[in-house]
């Protein structure tokens, strides 16, 4: 199929795509696996980074801030390549595409989650700190029992939006041969020469999953906004 040849009557043939549909589904499962694990590690790590940036002494605060800014301002693909191609040689360890992907996206998303946590914590009125102090709570108790529960409720939509962004970003793992949805699509396209159909179906699969998530987030945001639990930071 020559690129640029003017094909008016292109005959679409989706049969090859549906013959290999289970491979695409497997890819989707792998996409969700990387996304899920990155969230699992990224959120606690993000909280830690946010707390270090907010309340740490200079020795902790400055590296934490730098790490957050660095991970937020460098392209994820540069990070992924660094962890996959550079780090193993540097540390003399072996790492497979799956581990490199989870590691990269846990760290990458932790930086964004840290900023969500920070925004959420800072959005809580100072009066809450003072009230907690007045009843004799120390800083850790105040954070854990007064500030964070309120902050987290406000952050939920931002978290979910980040999670959706993360799912979109995980398509990069295909570049280091981890068999996510995009990688599977690429493989099938190469063996069947039906790249138009295969990539269109793969894009549609991403769309369905991500669009449903986006609608759910919007719905939730609307709901939280109505019950007054949401203040835009």
């Amino acid at each position: 199929m020559q690129a640029g040849s003017f094909i008016v009557g292109y005959e679409w043939d989706f049969s090859v795509v549906f013959r290999d549909f289970d491979l695409l589904l497997l890819g989707l499962v792998n996409t969700l696996k990387v996304t899920g694990l990155a969230l699992l590690f990224g959120i606690p790590l993000g909280l830690l980074l946010a707390l270090l940036r907010l309340y740490g002494n200079a020795v902790l605060r400055i590296p934490a801030s730098f790490l957050i800014e660095f991970l937020r301002t460098t392209p994820p693909i540069a990070q992924l390549f660094w962890f996959f191609f550079a780090m193993p040689i540097l540390l003399g360890v072996e790492i497979d595409p799956f581990e490199a992907s989870v590691l990269t996206f846990s760290l990458q998303s932790s930086a964004f989650f840290a900023e969500v946590f920070r925004g959420g914590i800072l959005s809580i009125d100072n009066g809450q700190w003072e009230a907690a102090k007045a009843i004799g709570m120390n800083r850790n108790d105040t954070l854990r029992r007064v500030i964070l529960p309120q902050a987290v409720k406000r952050m939920i939509p931002a978290f979910l939006e980040r999670a959706i962004e993360l799912m979109k970003t995980t398509t990069l793992v295909s570049t280091i041969s981890y068999a996510d949805l995009l990688y599977q699509a690429n493989t099938i396209a190469q063996s069947t020469y039906r790249s138009l159909e295969v990539f269109t179906v793969a894009a549609a699969m991403y769309f369905v999953v991500i669009f449903i998530c986006s609608l759910a987030v919007q719905r939730l945001e609307h709901h939280l906004g109505r019950t007054g639990e949401l203040t835009k930071g």
Binding site: T74, T171, L196
Partner: protein
């Protein structure tokens, strides 16, 4: 294992990196300019009450916002040429994907910005006898654009980061040059560290500028 850092091969290939940097900037600027330009029209169509404009614009925006940008680039590079009447090279495919993505995201910024302007402004402009395009062009947009600047700058930062995806389809931007150099010189550690630093140096001043803008516009209210 002790690794001895050796950046000499990075510096001796400075010219290749410079070409990559140039290509990164060219791609980002082209997509930003086209994206912001067409985004205005799509945003206006989204804002319009006329279904003939509203529905196609909404479908377009939702499709491009809810699929990964790498999938868009791959689609334009591997799938689109089959039905395209014109030739698609790596630059065209990357530029198409990133531009349309930027159109979708910036149209939402335009829409939110236009919506944030008080209804009274429209009415006042109408009362002066202005037609729709005059109301939009002279009264609403000048006020709205000022509020949108931080969001646009964030988009620009995201866009520069996204140009690195063009390396996947072998467009010779910074990331692709780094990949090539590291395979020739066997220096992935130094090369990928350097390229991450170059991106950081390129983008970080922008993020600082955005933060400053955001603080200033918040203080203004």
């Amino acid at each position: 294992m002790e690794h001895v850092w050796d950046f000499s091969a990075v510096f001796s290939n400075w010219y290749l990196l410079l070409i990559g940097l140039k290509n990164t900037i060219v791609l980002a600027v082209v997509c930003l300019v086209l994206g912001l330009f067409f985004g205005l029209f799509v945003g206006a169509a989204r804002y319009s009450g006329n279904r003939l404009f509203n529905w196609p614009a909404t479908a377009f925006v939702e499709i491009f916002r809810n699929t990964p940008v790498l999938v868009q680039i791959m689609w334009f590079f591997f799938a689109f040429p089959i039905i395209s009447p014109f030739d698609i090279n790596a630059f065209t495919a990357a530029a198409l994907g990133l531009t349309l993505n930027t159109v979708a995201f910036s149209s939402e910024i335009y829409r939110a910005g236009i919506q944030s302007i008080h209804k009274g402004q429209w009415e006042a402009a109408k009362a002066l006898g202005m037609n729709y395009s005059q109301q939009m062009g002279r009264i609403i947009l000048p006020q709205a654009v000022r509020r949108m600047i931080p969001a646009f700058m964030n988009r620009a930062v995201e866009l520069v980061k996204m140009t690195s995806l063009a390396s996947v389809i072998a467009y010779g931007e910074l990331m692709h040059q780094a990949k090539t150099i590291s395979t020739i010189e066997f220096n992935p550690i130094e090369m990928y560290t350097s390229v991450a630093l170059i991106f950081f140096i390129l983008i970080f001043p922008f993020t600082l500028l955005v933060q400053r803008f955001e603080i200033r516009s918040k203080a203004k209210g």
